[in-house]
Amino acid sequence: MVDNPDDPRFASRRAFLRSGLVASGAAALGGSLPARAETVGNPANLPPNVPDWSRFLGEGVGVRAYGKPSQHEANVIRRDVEWLTASRESSVSFTPLHELDGPITPNGLCFERHHGGIAEVNPTDYRLMLHGLVEKPLIFTLDDIKRMPRVNRAYFCECAANSGMEWRGAQLNGCQFTHGMIHSVMYTGVPLKILLEQAGVKPNAKWLLLEGGDAAAMTRSLPLQKALEDTLVAYRMNGEMLRPENGYPVRMVVPGWEANMWVKWIRRIEVGDQPWHHREETSKYTDLLEGGKARRFTYVMDAKSVITNPSPQAPLNHKRGFTVLAGLAWSGRGKVQRVDVSLDGGRNWQAARLDGPVWDKALTRFYYEFDWDGRELLLQSRAMDETGYVQPTKAELRQVRGVNSIYHNNGIQTWHVRSSGEVENVEVS
């Protein structure tokens, strides 16, 4: 530990010891006890008593044929914001980022965005049509697709409107709502390039149309170059078949690009020589700038990060002492190279520790450990990717784009931590 009494960690150390003494009365053990008195729990289950689960047999195998989280985790769910949209069939639910750790999102918690509700596709009746500027138009069944050479890749999938409600200022109080339109899972699928080779793409081909089989027949135009580079036709997430809400049985995976391109329940791919300019690439998913001009085809998701713990839905309950800041960083241009963390609203920065796999275009976990002395904090994180792109402040972003964009808000998030441990979404000067 530090010896300088001016160092905030020194004061923290003393408070730490004091509260330990109060809680336990055992001075010799004080340093290793939690700063917080143990105030929760049923004494009958706590030592020296023996709880029921240690005495009586529990349920046997097979009772939970498909496992679910503990009943005590019932609060860990996707949530939606009712006032945001006119109906739940064309709406969004958000990943509870503050309840998760590591780089992978559990399947049942991946955010949802539907334009015509969840299509319940019977896998026997699933067909993928590939036609247009090809030598041989083809139809594939699900079994056909599963017979093809396949790859496994973890990628983040972020809605272009993630943080879209925050352009004009701090609005939603929780990283689930400010940043929860993202998930990152391990996909299994066929490189689209292999499918295209089967049909034989004609030399004048430049664009593809991706069309979903849902009640919105969602479409996007995809440049052929991206299709040949790393786009996947995926049918598994984290090993199991896609969930219906994530496109069962087959969806597009367009690494690093806005989630709207990742067409779910993909039923048709048409090869053409120009973009289609459909609704989701004109009326929506175009970025209105100051002055009334709009940027289109803004596919790449710029580097971004957020501290997930603490955050408004996950306060610092221990009040002071050893503290781990946990967060996520990602970039649509490649790997996260570095994440910096600020405790004082962006005046001073320290390098965070990247932990776990640092995959290309996937969520990367970071941590920053410190002794909190209980003072108010203005927490920020700043991602930098392998191309040298540095996540901008919200002010820098508004300077170049105005506040009417809705999409592609990757500005630095600030959380205000009070001495009580309570956390609020704020904006700072």
Binding site: M129, R295, G345, E396
Partner: protein, 229 residues
């Protein structure tokens, strides 16, 4: 796989190679024969049933016709409940008309008339996704009629007796088309690429809170989420 890689694999260095490849994550795509013999040829009838897309140059327009007048009756019956009688929108459903001249203001209204660049987007979208909850149910003539009426709400078509069809469709132009431009972030936002981001004393004054989410109080309450079994 290159000859060099093949050599490594066969000579017992496979593990090293595999690790490097796994972390790169993007390579290699398996080398499949160009013809795997998987899948079958799609027939013209199958393609015709699913190929419903329309482009700005008119490619994909179905054969059909409909007037503004005929479209009005259909619109009132099947569209107005959500979009409003004049495209002004009911509640939070998408607005179809109005908002001209608002795009550079504080509260931009992005309607077909004020924002959308192409009329073809309207007929394509109605054809694939509308009416909401009963998609792909309109006949081609109904499709042209409703599209004509919707475009008339933004004065793109002014005569209620105007008959829209696949031959005259591409003559319709939307006023905001010139205001769209391709993604240029890598040049216009070049300043976001930095060699060394600032680490200490980056701003002289200490940070002040200038906005708070709680002031708005629009966040869903904890425990009020959808029920879970």
């Amino acid at each position: 796989m290159s000859r060099f890689l093949s050599f490594l694999v066969t000579s017992g260095l496979a593990a090293v190679t595999a690790t490097a490849v796994a972390f790169a994550q993007t390579k290699p795509i398996p080398q499949a024969p160009r013809d795997l013999g998987i899948g079958r040829v799609a027939t013209p009838e199958e393609i015709a049933g699913w190929d419903i897309d329309v482009r700005p140059d008119g490619v994909g327009l179905p054969v059909g016709k409909g007037t503004v007048k005929a479209g009005e009756a259909l619109y009132v019956e099947r569209c107005a409940a959500c979009h409003g009688e004049f495209g002004e929108s009911a509640g939070r459903w998408p607005i179809l008309s109005g908002g001209e001249g608002t795009l550079s203001g504080h509260d931009p209204v992005k309607s077909i008339g004020s924002y959308w660049p192409y009329a073809s987007t309207v007929i394509d979208y109605v054809r694939r996704a509308m009416p909401y909850g009963n998609a792909q149910s309109l006949t081609n003539d109904e499709l042209y009629a409703v599209t004509a009426y919707v475009l008339s709400l933004s004065d793109i078509i002014k005569d209620e007796n105007f008959e829209l069809n696949e031959k005259n469709f591409t003559s319709l132009k939307l006023p905001n088309e010139p205001n769209f431009f391709d993604d240029d972030r890598e040049t216009s936002e070049k300043a976001f690429w930095k060699k060394e981001p600032c680490m200490t004393n980056c701003v002289s004054e200490s940070a002040k809170v200038v906005g708070r989410a709680r002031a708005l109080d629009v966040t869903p309450e904890e425990g009020k989420g959808p029920k879970v079994e």
